[in-house]
């Protein structure tokens, strides 16, 4: 059993194998067949049968992470060491299995990506066939998606092995490397940055609405925001703080120093805002904990307001 999960000594792990060997491919196919078979068996089972199975698997999966968090972890463990007693045997096992269990999530996400791509294809091919308004954008999206996939993988293949090391220097690039660079760094990254920069304008329009003096709360918000904004403006901060320094004669012990823009702004951020955000974070954390407990123990039933 331990050979199914042992990661500290991969050579003993049943699922391990050297890249490209037939044995490894057979193991991958066995794993895939087992996984797909299990999924179909579960899908074809009646709901009454499926529910306890799902609850059991959820509980066991959750229990692993609970044990990982609470069970005494091995102290100062080095590679190749053997456990000294039963407690250490369990803790070594949990420690070794952690990587394997977390990999399950990545594998599942990889499988589900296919469904995501299917959804994209379904929506956009339909738009093109039915010649919906702006159907041309769907063509652009699909062409971009396939181009990026093909060029990305092609570029990745050229960069593998010893020959790939030479591609660190752009002088050795081929057309495919230039194409990938143009598509990823030249277009995609630049478009990401363009979308990000739009936020600056949206902040302005949102701030205009938020800071309108409509109530006592909005006025307090406006006043505090104004202080923080002014404290970040070099010239204003220099003049105001300089005036305070002039009043105190640069005496660091003077109480009047607390009226410096930077001090008021720091107090607002550290004391008022910091405390409020910590309070919200505590609430969110506790909410996530309660939600996690309900999911783990299958206490969370369909909550859409149904019967």
């Amino acid at each position: 059993m331990s050979q199914l999960f042992l990661q500290a000594q991969p050579q003993l792990n049943f699922w391990n194998g050297l890249n490209g060997t037939t044995g490894l491919w057979i193991k991958i196919l066995i794993g895939l067949a087992l996984g797909v078979g299990l999924i179909f068996a579960l899908m074809s089972a009646p709901t009454q049968t499926r529910r306890p199975i799902v609850a059991f698997v959820t509980f066991i999966s959750g229990l692993f992470y609970v044990l990982y968090f609470f069970f005494p972890r091995p102290i100062d463990r080095q590679p190749g060491e053997l456990p000294l007693d039963f407690v250490e045997s369990v803790s070594f096992y949990i420690d070794d299995a952690f990587g394997v269990v977390t990999d399950f999530t990545a594998i599942l996400s990889g499988l589900l990506l296919g469904l995501g791509i299917y959804s994209l294809l379904h929506v956009h091919v339909k738009r093109i066939i039915k010649a919906h308004q702006n159907w041309f954008f769907s063509v652009v999206l699909l062409v971009s998606m396939f181009m990026m996939t093909i060029v990305g993988y092609w570029d990745w293949i050229t960069r593998r092995g010893e020959a790939g090391a030479s591609l660190d220097d752009p002088a050795n690039w081929s057309a495919i490397n230039y194409t990938k660079d143009l598509m990823f760094d030249g277009l995609l990254q630049a478009m990401d940055a363009a979308m990000f920069s739009i936020i600056a304008f949206y902040i302005l329009s949102a701030a205009y609405r938020a800071f309108r003096v409509r109530s006592v709360e909005a006025t307090i918000l406006l006043a505090t925001a104004l202080i923080v904004i002014l404290s970040l403006m070099g010239a204003v901060e220099f003049l105001w703080n300089g005036m305070i320094d002039g009043m105190t004669g640069k005496d660091p012990g003077s109480v009047v120093n607390n009226l410096k823009l930077t001090e008021i702004s720091k107090w607002l951020r550290d004391t008022v805002q910091g405390a409020a955000i910590r309070g919200i974070d505590f609430g969110v954390g506790i909410g996530a904990l309660a939600m996690g407990l309900r999911l783990w123990l299958s206490l969370e039933r369909g909550t859409g307001g149904g019967n």
Binding site: T21, S119, Y202, G287
Partner: protein, 322 residues
């Protein structure tokens, strides 16, 4: 040596490491205890949450206008507690929309969320006996790149002219892009982010915002299921426990640091041991206080466990397929 430290201690329980797990365990007990209390028929009170009361109004408005309701369950990479909670709220929204035959759109950031989301919404339509009205394309995978997703959702908002939008879950820099785009088309917006840094953006741009743990209170508020209401009361007990701990910390630190923080100490804790301060007494700092040290475990570099080596052990070679 192991003779000095029992293996039951565990790496995480050395020094004061036992405090955070014990505290977590206490919070879990509060939640489970209250779920059990609620199951016994106790009538537990939940205060009014404006953002959740507005759901019916938002969907009703969309129905009157004949425009779709758009929902985004955040930018989580995978299906976690936050996504499940967002989908819980969306299934409630979808149920009302289904009853009014109002179109919906759910935009998903990752493939796992898309898969689960599609099944959840399909189940809602089936439960309402409207399975034939469910459009699988109403739940869409957009992109798993942050700003490509933002551009995609903004485009859908502008093209479909959604009348009501629900942004709930993990949101980051793109939160304001969504909220301002939806505002520009006059959509009624109900939003909530588990990221406290994004909550102010939603407050500035949206009509209703669920702040912090109100997001997790939504299921209990909407359905009044005893288990969920009990869990919510348990969360309140947890918050009281945290508040009490903070209060004790404030008092303890105030007493220990003293007015003006001019107290001097002769011993300090270093590598999980108390040692004399080098160079004589020094002023006490917040890191020297009891509460600070209680919640910050220190590691002991001298603690080494000698174990037998496995004779069959071979260090992993490069090129393995693990």
């Amino acid at each position: 040596m192991l003779s000095q430290v029992s293996s039951w201690r565990g790496e995480q329980y050395l020094d004061t490491g036992w405090v955070p797990p014990a505290f977590t365990l206490l919070l879990c007990i509060w939640v489970l205890l209250n779920i059990r209390r609620a199951g016994t028929g106790k009538d537990l009170f939940i205060r009014r949450i404006a953002g959740l009361n507005a759901i019916d109004e938002a969907v009703g408005r969309a129905t009157e206008m004949g425009k779709p309701v758009l929902m985004v369950p955040g930018l989580s990479d995978t299906v976690n507690a936050i996504v499940v909670q967002a989908l819980n709220i969306f299934s409630y929204v979808a149920r009302i929309a289904a009853r009014f035959s109002n179109p919906i759109l759910v935009c998903c950031y990752s493939a796992p969320i898309f898969t689960v989301g599609q099944e959840v919404i399909r189940d809602v339509y089936n439960e309402e006996g409207l399975g034939d009205k469910f459009d699988p394309d109403s739940v869409r995978f957009i992109s798993d790149r942050q700003f490509a997703f933002a551009a995609g959702v903004s485009g859908i908002l502008l093209r479909e002219k959604a009348a009501a939008t629900f942004f709930m879950g993990e949101f980051y820099a793109e939160s304001l892009i969504f909220a301002e785009t939806a505002n520009s088309i006059g959509a009624i917006q109900i939003a909530s982010s588990t990221e406290s840094t994004q909550t102010p953006f939603f407050i500035a741009a949206c009509d209703y915002v669920l702040i912090g743990d109100e997001f997790y209170a939504a299921s209990a508020y909407l359905t009044r299921q005893p288990v969920l209401v009990g869990s919510l009361v348990g969360q309140d007990w947890c918050k009281l426990t945290v508040a009490l701990t903070v209060l004790i910390g404030v008092l303890a630190n105030t007493i220990q640091l003293g007015p003006g923080s001019h107290k001097m100490i002769t011993q300090e804790k270093r590598d999980a041991k108390f040692v004399n301060v080098e160079g004589g007494p020094r002023p006490i700092t917040p890191d020297d206080t009891f509460m600070s040290q209680l919640f910050r475990k220190q590691s002991d570099p001298e603690l080494v466990i000698e174990r037998p080596i496995d004779p069959t052990f071979v260090p992993p070679a490069d090129g393995g397929g693990e």
